[in-house]
């Protein structure tokens, strides 16, 4: 319980740091949001600044921003009149969450499968095949992979649509592009932890009492060797999230990632700020959930806190 309170406390602090950092970084950018090639008349500038409270001292703007966030209001776009960050999230997030959810599920399943196969066939050709996939997966950036997938599978072979978000077949390529790297990392994690677990005494016991290899692997080895995957879920979520920036832009998927890239491109600072805070909160939530799940599944963590291990 104390552990839980501790975790939630540090999650809250991290979120506050993210908000503060984002706010001051965005306000340190030289030039105002209304600077454009065409000089606006001073009176219009003043009205704009007053409308968005840009005349207030920085600390007051910061407090106002904090207050708004506490109310769940992430601000308005300064490039698209009438669009709020909350609206953008409502429109874009379901798409991104679906895409990311499928990608992370696909990554976990294929990664675990590949890792187990590699561990069971240690130093045989299947193992080498998996390690080839792992090295390839960690070395090919997602945007390169997207390009290659589009060229070979969508344009040359014409098996799948190259872009847009219409129907399940249009999700295959973006999911592949997003899931590849986390799948490779999970495969590597599972392989090494599986090899370690398989050399433990209780596996020998299970084998000795006459269980077939399949049962031993599924019932005894797998539950213990997929624990590291759980810790990796936080980083994997971050990876898929940043991956979604390019993947959604390349495949023209109307998700949050595409919005983020667009607002970076347009220098739509309030949207960048709002989305960064949203992303930060999302990831902190994920990490905290993973931590809690981990303590529930692995009692060793509760007895030996991280610092002592």
């Amino acid at each position: 319980m104390r552990y839980l309170v501790n975790k939630l406390g540090s999650a809250a602090i991290t979120l506050l740091v993210i908000i503060t950092l984002t706010f001051f970084l965005m306000h340190a950018i030289p030039g105002g949001p209304f600077d454009s090639a065409k000089k606006l008349p001073d009176s219009i500038m003043q009205n704009l600044n007053a409308r968005y409270n840009l005349d207030d001292p920085l600390w007051r703007q910061y407090l106002a921003y904090l207050k708004n966030i506490a109310k769940g209001d992430l601000g308005v776009s300064i490039k698209y009149e009438g669009k709020t960050v909350n609206q953008i999230i409502r429109e874009g997030f379901p798409v991104s969450a679906l895409l990311g959810g499928i990608a992370i599920t696909a990554a976990v399943f294929s990664g675990v499968l590949l890792g187990v196969v590699a561990a069971l066939n240690r130093n045989r050709w299947l193992d080498y095949l998996v390690s080839l996939f792992v090295t390839g997966g960690t070395s090919i950036p997602s945007f390169v992979l997207s390009g290659l997938l589009i060229y070979f599978i969508a344009i040359k072979l014409m098996w799948l649509p190259p872009a847009f978000w219409e129907g399940p077949e249009s999700a295959v390529l973006p999911v592949l592009a997003l899931a590849w790297l986390p799948a490779a990392t999970i495969a590597r994690l599972v392989r090494s932890s599986m090899i370690e677990v398989l050399s433990q005494d209780y596996i020998k016991t299970a084998r000795a009492k006459g269980l077939v290899m399949k049962t031993v692997v599924v019932r005894h080895a797998l539950p213990n060797s997929i624990l590291p995957v759980l810790t990796y879920l936080g980083p994997a979520a971050a990876l898929i999230l940043t991956g979604s920036f390019v993947v959604e832009s390349i495949f023209t998927i109307p998700g949050l990632g595409k919005w983020f890239v667009m607002s970076v491109f347009n220098r739509d600072y309030t949207v960048i700020m709002g989305l960064t805070v949203f992303y930060g909160a999302l990831l902190i939530l994920m990490n905290t959930l993973v931590d809690i799940a981990y303590t529930l599944l692995d009692p060793r963590i509760r007895i030996f806190p991280a610092e002592e291990r």
């Binding site: 090919i140 950036p141 971050a238 930060g280």
Partner: protein, 277 residues
């Protein structure tokens, strides 16, 4: 000890081949742009979008610029950013980490809590914000990437230092009257060089990837200099008709990352497999 590490590294075929690959890439990044008569910004509009040929080894881009020259020029920028980021992160991380680890107690707690908080923020998100802050360019990119990458180094170094400071040679140095600064710089930091090297080898491909990623989003070093990420972004536009414009820069980014990944794996295995588990 050094010999033994080198022997183990040499025993790792993948790592050795990758080291050679990296050296070749570095050499080509240095001399590649001068191997034919084109400069990276020479535009010959009638020759736009030409496939690879004897005249244009990697073909040309939409403005009739020689892709061979541009790819190696881009590789130079990518490598420069990767190596510079690796170096800065190593220096800053080593100093921060060893001070934190050696001081211990409250100072260590506060210093590490700070690192911990920043570390939990997705790194590309912050690099994006930082690069918005500065004029886009190679320098800005290096600063933005280093500002984030040193965190990992600091953590690893601090962990090492916590172990090292209980060692007898540190006690001996202290008994001989060496001050804190001297102990940290002369005795502690040289002894964390192994893990530091591995961390740096890991940061370099990470930085190359991040730079390519940001250039792809239009936040990297801008025209007419073009890093590999920019070339990939350009190549993506003409993917239907001129796929070589994507393939060549994509291949070299991937090769570069592959090389550094395998070398850092090899180094890690050669030095001590247990530290990073």
């Amino acid at each position: 000890m050094k010999n033994e590490i080198w022997m183990r590294f040499k025993g790792n075929k993948g790592a050795c081949i990758s080291l050679i690959l990296i050296i070749i890439l570095l050499l080509m990044a240095l001399i590649g742009p001068y191997l034919n008569s084109w400069r990276y910004s020479d535009q010959v509009l009638p020759n736009a979008n030409k496939p690879p040929s004897a005249e244009y080894w990697f073909g040309t881009d939409a403005l009739g610029r020689d892709l061979f020259t541009r790819v190696w020029h881009g590789a130079r920028i990518s490598l420069l950013i990767g190596l510079a980021t690796g170096f800065i992160s190593a220096v800053v991380g080593a100093i921060y980490g060893s001070i934190s680890g050696y001081a211990g107690g409250k100072i260590d707690g506060v210093m590490m809590k700070l690192v911990e908080i920043f570390y939990s923020i997705p790194f590309l998100l912050y690099v994006i914000l930082l690069s918005l802050l500065m004029e886009p360019g190679v320098k800005a990119m290096i600063v933005a990437l280093s500002a984030v990458c040193w965190l990992g180094t600091a953590r690893v170094v601090r962990g090492q230092v916590l172990k090292l400071r209980e060692e007898e040679f540190v006690l001996a140095a202290r008994l001989l009257g060496a001050g804190r600064t001297r102990i940290i710089f002369r005795h502690i930091i040289p002894n964390v060089s192994g893990p530091l090297l591995v961390m740096t080898a890991l940061i370099i491909p990470e930085a190359i990837f991040a730079e390519a990623f940001l250039s792809f989003l239009g936040l990297g070093a801008s025209a007419p200099v073009a890093s590999l990420g920019y070339l990939i972004k350009d190549g993506m536009q003409g993917i239907r008709s001129y796929p070589w414009q994507l393939f060549f820069p994509a291949a070299f980014v991937s090769l570069m990352m592959l090389g550094f990944h395998l070398v850092s794996d090899g180094l890690r295995d050669a030095l001590d497999p247990k530290i990073y588990k």
